[in-house]
């Protein structure tokens, strides 16, 4: 098992957001987590990635059999956890090329590998750019600075393609995307899917799941997973809306 979450409780500033999450993800699987706004979807992603503003008050997360809470943010990344940000941060003065070269080489160092020669790195960049159809000159620009919403999200998938994570968590990667960008993002994800890696796709709408077909769908509501099923659950949610879940749960 790749990821195992048991009875996870997490809070921010004393306010409990996650109230007992249980989730298991195996290699080769795609899980979709859906739910109304403000129910803890992004918090779950943040806690897995190790964002320090959240306090884990109860429960455990095991990743590749290890206690995830013992790993720092960067160690989790180097162990293969990737978070696609809902709101990618603008970093003026740091070019994407420089950012990715630093990241790739720090990850390689962790695995005992020498830095990637500049030529090979650039070749890889060019390949991955094609995958997400981003403009060639974009990577010379500062990270996300002045990017459109679509460019920012494509840049997330681009970074994922370069880092080749084992577990990718995509936090509302579809929000704010037009249909073309959505198709490109989904195509990127589908191309990167293998038997060895897994994806957790967080989304508010069912639309993305037309392009990235999940193996499992979970509904998160008020800090708990209240319903799990297969891809048909997403379609049912789309038809009936979240009110259906709310009523059933309340």
């Amino acid at each position: 098992m790749l990821l195992s979450i048991k009875n996870l409780h997490a809070s921010i500033n004393g306010k409990e957001i996650l109230k007992g999450i249980n989730l298991e993800v195996n290699e080769g699987e795609v899980h979709a987590i859906m739910g109304p706004n403000g129910t803890g979807k992004s918090t779950l992603a943040s806690v897995i990635a190790g964002r320090e503003v959240f306090d884990v008050t109860e429960g455990e997360i095991k990743y590749k059999g290890k206690n995830l809470f013992k790993l720092s943010v960067e160690e989790r990344s180097r162990e293969g956890i990737f978070l696609g940000f809902q709101y990618p941060v603008e970093i003026p003065g740091v070019s994407i090329t420089n950012f990715m070269r630093t990241a790739v080489n720090e990850q390689r160092k962790y695995r005992g590998l020498d830095p990637l020669p500049a030529g090979e790195f650039l070749k890889m960049m060019e390949e991955k750019k094609k995958l997400v159809e981003i403009q060639s000159n974009l990577t010379n620009r500062s990270v996300n600075e002045g990017f459109s919403g679509g460019e920012k999200k494509k840049n997330e998938i681009f970074q994922m393609a370069i880092l080749q994570p084992t577990l990718a968590i995509l936090d509302e990667t579809d929000s704010g995307l037009d249909i073309d960008a959505l198709r490109i993002v989904a195509n990127g994800v589908n191309t990167l899917r293998t038997k060895e890696n897994a994806f957790v796709v967080i989304t508010h709408y069912q639309r993305l799941l037309d392009y990235i077909v999940p193996d499992y769908v979970h509904v998160l509501f008020e800090g708990k997973i209240v319903k799990s099923g297969f891809k048909e659950l997403a379609i049912e949610l789309e038809e009936k809306g979240y009110d259906w879940i709310k009523k059933e749960f309340e």
């Binding site: 960067e74 180097r78 003026p92 740091v94 420089n98 950012f99």
Partner: protein, 486 residues
């Protein structure tokens, strides 16, 4: 009264020579006494007009004295401790200091004409004043007073007003030497000029050099002005630099400051711009106990442009104070100020930007920005951009931010596997990059990038051997100090 109990080895001047030592903590009276006792030496090269200026400046200093914290413009910078020491004061060039290889560490790959100053005195192998074929004159101000009195008299003390500034008055009264650069009309300096002022002395030293830079009409000059120290002795430098940019001239000016923690540097730079003159000025402060940059830009002709950039990286108890005053006296001029600082540990930074747009200065463009990153709870920044506008058809704006390193950005970088230290470094470097990117000379830009990286990693400190810590000192320059030629 007790003299300091430091090791007195080396070439220090005779302790009994009371005339060259400030007797107690620095005071107005003490300086007046020193002036009287050394009158002959101070004034030996003076022409009549210069002698008159000196007299007026001395009267002003007698009236004004040293600045103190009760003065509005000094309320955030306290000179009490700096003035509380006993300093040597050299009214003659200091002999015997090991000058060999002292300037070996200039910027690698940068082909410059180097002017060296040691403890405020111009030094050279054999020529105190170099006259290049294209008419450029550069070298010792003391020598220029003798050889080119007409040029010196026309400009000296004409821009740096001393009537309301005690320290400028003191410098004007005492100044004996410094750097003189004259670029005639229509001449473009083929390579940058590097002024290196090194402080290396066996005990605490007080110095006041005076620099005069003159650019003729349609001329062009790149000037890299470095203030460095080589050992850990204290120093108080009160330096005044006057720059005159005649019509349509262009000056690319760099002030690089890397001094030890016992140093006090008051660096006053006054630049007058005539019609359509263009100034790019870069203040890069890497280290220094207390640095105060008084920068004044006077637009005296239409359509001038002044870009003033500043970057300061301070830690320990270092203090940096940038005072920038821009006088838009004429229409159509553009001034643009970007100052950025990273303040660590117990350091403090002050930015006071004052842009005055006079009634007739229509079509003025003025922008001021100061941004600070505080890395600890004990670091302090005091930022005050200020616009004073009397014209109605102008575009002016200002901004100031002070905060911590962006924690969201830090998380983003770490989530991609970049270690916390590297991520912090990347962000700090990126913050500085906006100012660094304005450096027009590629070799200098590379060298400064390298210095900043070392500085941010705590590796750049003043050092006995080499201040700049260059990895490849490819152009070692040796100066043998021959006092008789100074």
């Amino acid at each position: 009264m007790s003299w300091r109990k430091k090791d007195m080895t080396g070439s220090r001047k005779n302790l009994n020579d009371m005339q060259s030592i400030t007797k107690d903590r620095i005071s107005k009276e003490g300086m007046m006494y020193l002036f009287e006792k050394n009158f002959g030496r101070i004034c030996q090269n003076d022409t009549k007009p210069i002698s008159e200026i000196r007299g007026k400046a001395l009267s002003s200093f007698r009236e004004l004295g040293f600045p103190n914290k009760r003065m509005e413009e000094w309320k955030n910078t306290d000179l009490t401790e700096s003035l509380g020491k006993i300093y040597d004061y050299n009214f003659d060039p200091v002999s015997g200091v090991a000058g060999k290889n002292i300037f070996q560490c200039n910027i690698p790959h940068l082909d410059t004409a180097v002017i060296g100053q040691l403890n405020g005195w111009y030094i050279s192998k054999d020529v105190p004043l170099i006259e290049l074929g294209n008419g450029i004159i550069m070298g010792s101000l003391a020598e220029a007073m003798v050889r080119y009195p007409a040029i010196v008299e026309k400009h000296l003390a004409k821009y740096a007003a001393f009537g309301n500034n005690g320290l400028t008055a003191l410098n004007t009264a005492f100044a004996q030497d410094g750097v003189f650069i004259y670029v005639p009309d229509n001449v473009q300096s083929p390579k940058p000029v590097q002024m290196i002022n090194v402080i290396q002395y066996t005990t605490d030293i007080f110095l006041q050099s005076r620099n005069l830079i003159i650019l003729g009409k349609n001329s062009r000059l790149s000037l890299v002005h470095c203030d460095d120290s080589y050992n850990h002795e204290g120093s108080f430098s009160n330096i005044v630099t006057e720059v005159f940019l005649d019509e349509n001239s262009f000056l690319d000016h760099y002030k690089l400051q890397n001094l030890n923690n016992n140093s006090t540097l008051i660096s006053t730079t006054v630049m007058q711009l005539e019609k359509a003159a263009h100034l790019d000025s870069h203040f890069l402060s890497m280290n220094g106990g207390l640095i105060r940059n008084n920068t004044r830009i006077d637009f005296q002709g239409n359509d001038g442009v002044a870009n003033v950039y500043g970057l300061y990286l301070m830690d320990r108890k270092q203090h940096i104070d940038n005072q920038v005053f821009v006088d838009h006296a004429k229409p159509g001029c553009t001034s643009n100020e970007i100052f950025k600082g990273i303040l660590d540990e117990n350091s403090s930074g002050v930015f006071n930007g004052h842009v005055l747009v006079r009634k007739d200065a229509q079509k003025t463009n003025a922008y001021q920005s100061n941004r600070n990153i505080l890395l600890t709870d004990t670091a302090k920044a005091n930022s005050k951009p200020f616009l004073e506008i009397y014209a109605d058809d102008v575009k002016c704006s200002h901004g100031s931010t002070t905060g911590q390193l962006d924690s969201e950005a830090l998380f983003y970088l770490r989530q991609r596997g970049i270690g916390e230290d590297s991520a912090r470094m990347l962000l700090l470097y990126a913050f500085a990059a906006e100012v660094v990117s304005k450096i027009n000379i590629p070799q200098l830009r590379n060298s400064i990038e390298d210095m900043i990286k070392k500085r941010l990693q705590g590796e750049l400190q003043i050092c006995e051997q080499c201040v700049l810590h260059c990895t490849t000192p490819e152009h070692p320059i040796e100066f043998n100090i021959d006092v008789s030629k100074i």
